[in-house]
């Protein structure tokens, strides 16, 4: 946990100045020079080319930009990129890297046709994975409440709830199987993002 890491500003910053940050994105350590006004979403999308997280409002109102920071789901459009300094960021691209099998949540979204246009989908899936890890996927009612920060204008909610119920069971089975190897549960982290 590196919440106490300090930020370094450049020697001769052009107005309004740039800030150097270091963060780990999808397991890869990165250093970036930033406009301090830049959101984490715009850092990911415009600077790092990770366009899986989407912009639907830029105001924390739709959830399309949901990513994980230190294991917690955040609206990356509302997270200043400098705030990700020293942190672990997981995006949809890192959930199942190219060539590796899909995460159970991704497969469940396919199986239950929990999408139409697919624009909200990366955010839905990142939120859904966190929703399960938080222990907020124990009933359809609870899933609906804890997934209500992610809007789907196509109206795929019935499929989304079914997919999360399905994936939650598979994720629980996987967690049980690997519990012997690692005592640390991903949802046990509580960073002050």
């Amino acid at each position: 946990m590196s919440s106490s890491a300090t930020l370094r500003t450049g020697g001769h910053p052009p107005t309004p100045g740039r800030v150097a940050v270091e963060l780990v994105v999808n397991g890869v350590p990165l250093a970036a020079s930033l406009d301090p006004r830049r959101s984490l979403l715009d850092l990911l999308r415009e600077q790092l080319g990770l366009t899986g997280a989407k912009k639907g409002c830029d105001h924390g109102q739709c959830g399309a930009c949901t990513v994980h920071v230190d294991g917690r789901r955040v609206a990356s459009c509302l997270t200043p990129a400098v705030q990700a300094h020293g942190r672990q960021v997981l995006t949809i691209e890192g959930l199942s890297p190219a060539g590796s099998p899909l995460h159970p949540m991704q497969q469940a979204f396919i199986d239950h046709d929990a999408l139409q246009c697919g624009y909200c989908t990366p955010g839905q899936i990142m939120a859904a994975v966190a929703c399960v890890a938080e222990g907020h996927a124990t009933s359809p009612e609870q899933i609906r409440e804890y997934m209500s920060g992610n809007l789907c204008r196509c109206g795929a909610y019935v499929g989304i709830v079914a997919a999360i119920e399905d994936a939650a069971m598979k994720m629980a089975a996987t967690t049980m199987a690997t519990a012997g190897r690692s005592a640390e549960m991903p949802e046990a982290r509580h960073a002050a993002v």
């Binding site: 109102q61 959930l95 396919i110 046709d113 999408l115 899936i125 109206g155 795929a156």
Partner: protein
């Protein structure tokens, strides 16, 4: 024709979508991109007196500021319903005139989004203001009778029999007025484009339902040869009518990219798109329905008023829809358009049908209660096989089956008729409501190019756009079945003006437009393969036959159009103009149908209305892609719940424009608003309409939902609520 139902096929692009691997227009991070941001007008109407962009131009990273003063020879591309290509004829930034609050007055282009956004806030304007009207009853609103406009040529007023006399004689009369607030489509994908010039060609990447109109509209606006413009829109992050034609920002992005010789990306912020794109107009209705004492509907009159802009006439087609719900011999409709100072309103899912069915099906429910007849039985008793407006036969109509199956699935026989007679265990009121919906069966011309290569790959190029309705999956389903190959081997190149002419995809005509032509192309390919294999194809895959014949590839091209359309329709298609046939064809009339059954719960103390379950049964002809079709219906039901209980764009009579211009203040349905939605299909092919037997689905899915909800609320509370959205205070 293969009469078997289609198999359940997973959405073919879902694997990419769940990995975030689908590239929408703004998913472009090239290092040399420039970013555009708008400054917008802050008055309701008037004229720019001064515009000071010096601070913006001097700001760090700014490369260009476009305003009316330096835009040059950019023109309006015209209004799509007036022979042009745009959602409205008013192109912002080409004159100092301000038609409505929120229209752009400057485009700032900079090296980064942050720099552009910051500099746009530095633009200063002063105005000469003019009086404006944004509400339907405001002074200065001009009322236009649609029958006296050029729109009447293609949307003639409904006039069957003598409705006024027949209504006056009817022993039972229902007379009611309805209204709906304006609403915004709000797809989650923001309006966005990347414009770039490549060796003298303009290439536009934009999520649009109408790549061909964007292309030809840009040619008109910028004085270019359309042959030098490509528009690429492989995936749309939701359209819902908002992205059905050229929008002003695309013209400005193209012009900025030309001046900077750099690709320019514009992503319109959510707050701004409430004024930069179309919306569902405010509308209101006076419906009169006459019947005999047995419940036979004898006459109806549907008079509608809907908002339009000062600069365009966005048509109303309300009565044309309500006249098709039943076989009412005497029916009169009237549409009036009210000119207000807003951007031109436009199409939003089930644009007229949602409201027409809300109004008319509410009246039908009132009739059922006036007569003490079960609402399902009353509807079944008024079924028809003939289109009462034209006297022509309906190519197919299975709404009776929708009602009967839906009633059985829902458990309708357990309903007690009296309002307030059903209670939940927690003391809340239970209401069960039903309504039907209908939507015109439309078809546009299409050209399909099908190519088989010896590696087994099949490429289909055709005019249709994928905005989530699942047309890629439908194309894969029909080609896989026709050609006997796996869907993975099929690649659809769609939404791309380089591939084939791209007619507007809207109005639920995409399937009936593309699928019959693509099936015909597959038949043509199979015929050519049979010629290549004189000894018979004997269970060989197409690519095996091709290889045996020593050919690297085989390509066919097939075109198709709606019944009765002239061959010249293909010229309109290629010119990017709307070329829609139907629902009245020379020999028949085609509509899709649906029946919705809704349960509402009204909480005892808060009176909050919830919709725990919906059953919907649709008649959309042959279901080509069962899985994505079911999602379309569920989506339509969610839209109906939103329109009935949540969504309203609040206008500001003091300053103009829309007030609640974001997703926190404009309440869309969220996950917790939605319960169970059970969907079934009649799945009877309509081969009179087209060889594939398909009718439209996406729009009809929403039609009637709001009425079923309002009827359920009446059943729960005894209150007839006739204004949308219905809010808690209406149920108190």
């Amino acid at each position: 024709m293969n009469m078997m139902p289609f198999a359940d096929l997973a959405r073919v692009d879902a694997h990419d979508k769940v990995r975030g691997a689908v590239a929408f227009a703004a998913d472009d991070a090239r290092p040399n991109l420039a970013y555009g941001a708008f400054a917008v007008a802050t008055i309701g109407k008037g004229r720019l007196a001064s515009l000071d962009v010096a601070a913006a131009e001097a700001a760090d990273g700014v490369r260009l500021v476009l305003t009316h003063a330096n835009i040059g020879a950019v023109a309006s591309a015209g209004f799509i319903m007036g022979g042009g290509y745009g959602f409205q004829s008013h192109q912002p930034l080409i004159s100092p005139e301000i038609a409505y609050r929120g229209e752009p007055i400057a485009l700032v282009v900079a090296d980064s989004l942050e720099a552009a956004t910051h500099a746009a806030a530095l633009v200063r304007a002063t105005y000469e203001t003019a009086p404006f009207a944004v509400e339907l009853d405001a002074p200065g609103v001009e009322v236009v009778d649609q029958a006296e406009t050029p729109l009447a040529h293609f949307i003639p007023p409904v006039a069957a029999g003598d409705a006024d006399a027949a209504y006056a004689r009817a022993p039972v009369q229902i007379d009611a007025r309805f209204a709906s607030a304006p609403q915004h489509q709000n797809p989650i994908e923001l309006i966005a484009c990347v414009a770039e010039w490549q060796a003298g060609r303009l290439v536009i990447h934009e999520g649009t339902q109408n790549a061909e109109a964007v292309r030809h509209g840009l040619a008109a606006a910028l004085g270019l040869d359309a042959g030098l413009i490509d528009v690429v829109s492989p995936f749309v992050g939701g359209g819902f009518g908002q992205k059905n034609s050229l929008q002003g920002h695309t013209v400005l992005a193209a012009e900025a990219a030309r001046r900077l010789a750099r690709p320019v990306k514009i992503v319109v912020p959510r707050a701004q798109l409430y004024h930069l794109a179309s919306f569902r107009p405010a509308n209101r209705h006076h419906v009169r329905l006459g019947a005999d004492r047995s419940g036979r509907m004898l006459a109806a009159i549907h008079e509608a008023q809907a908002q339009t802009s000062r600069h365009d006439l966005f048509p109303g087609e309300y009565a044309t829809t309500s006249a098709r719900l039943y076989g009412i011999a005497d029916f009169r409709g009237k549409d009036e358009l009210l000119r207000t100072d807003a951007q031109t309103p436009g199409y939003m899912r089930a644009p007229f049908e949602h409201i027409a069915c809300f109004a008319f099906e509410s009246c039908v429910d009132e009739l059922a209660y006036a007569l003490g007849i079960d609402p399902v039985a009353l509807r079944l008793a008024n079924d028809t096989t003939v289109d009462a407006v034209t006297g022509r036969p309906l190519s197919s109509r299975h709404v009776g089956q929708c009602l009967e199956r839906g009633a059985a699935m829902f458990g309708w026989e357990r309903r007690s008729m009296a309002p307030g007679s059903m209670r939940a265990e927690d003391g809340g009121l239970i209401g069960w409501g039903v309504a039907i919906g209908t939507y015109a069966g439309l078809r546009a011309p299409a050209i399909a190019k099908l190519k088989l290569t010896d590696d087994g790959r099949v490429e289909i190029r055709v005019g249709v756009h994928e905005m989530g309705q699942g047309v890629r999956t439908a194309l894969a389903a029909v080609l896989a079945r026709k050609l006997g190959i796996a869907p993975e081997h099929i690649v659809a190149i769609i939404g791309d003006t380089r591939a084939a002419p791209q007619h507007l995809t809207a109005g639920s005509w995409g399937t009936a437009t593309a699928i019959p032509v693509v099936e015909a192309a597959a038949d043509a390919l199979l015929a050519r393969l049979a010629e290549l294999a004189p000894g018979g194809v004997s269970n060989r895959e197409p690519a095996q036959i091709l290889r045996a014949a020593g050919l690297p590839e085989l390509a066919v091209e097939v075109q198709g159009k709606a019944p009765g359309q002239p061959d010249a329709i293909y010229d309109r298609l290629k010119a990017g103009l709307p070329s829609i046939g139907g629902p009245v064809y020379p020999e028949f009339v085609t509509y899709s149908y649906i029946a919705h059954f809704v349960e509402v719960r009204v909480e005892a103390t808060t009176r909050r209305v919830r919709v725990p379950r919906v059953v919907s049964v649709a008649d959309c002809g042959r279901v080509v892609s069962p899985r994505t079709a079911a999602s379309q219906v569920r989506g339509g039901v969610v839209w109906g719940i939103g329109a009935a209980l949540r969504e309203a764009s609040e206008v500001d009579p003091r300053y103009g424009g829309f007030l609640n211009a974001d997703l926190a203040e404009y309440a869309l349905p969220v996950n917790a608003d939605i319960g169970a939605i059970e969907v079934a299909f009649v799945d009877e092919p309509d081969t009179r309409f087209n060889s594939a037997g398909v009718k439209g689905l996406g729009e009809v899915s929403m039609a009637g939902v709001a009425a079923a909800i309002a009827n359920a609320i009446h059943h729960a509370t005894g209150k007839r609520l006739r204004e949308l959205p219905i809010r808690i205070e209406d149920v108190l």
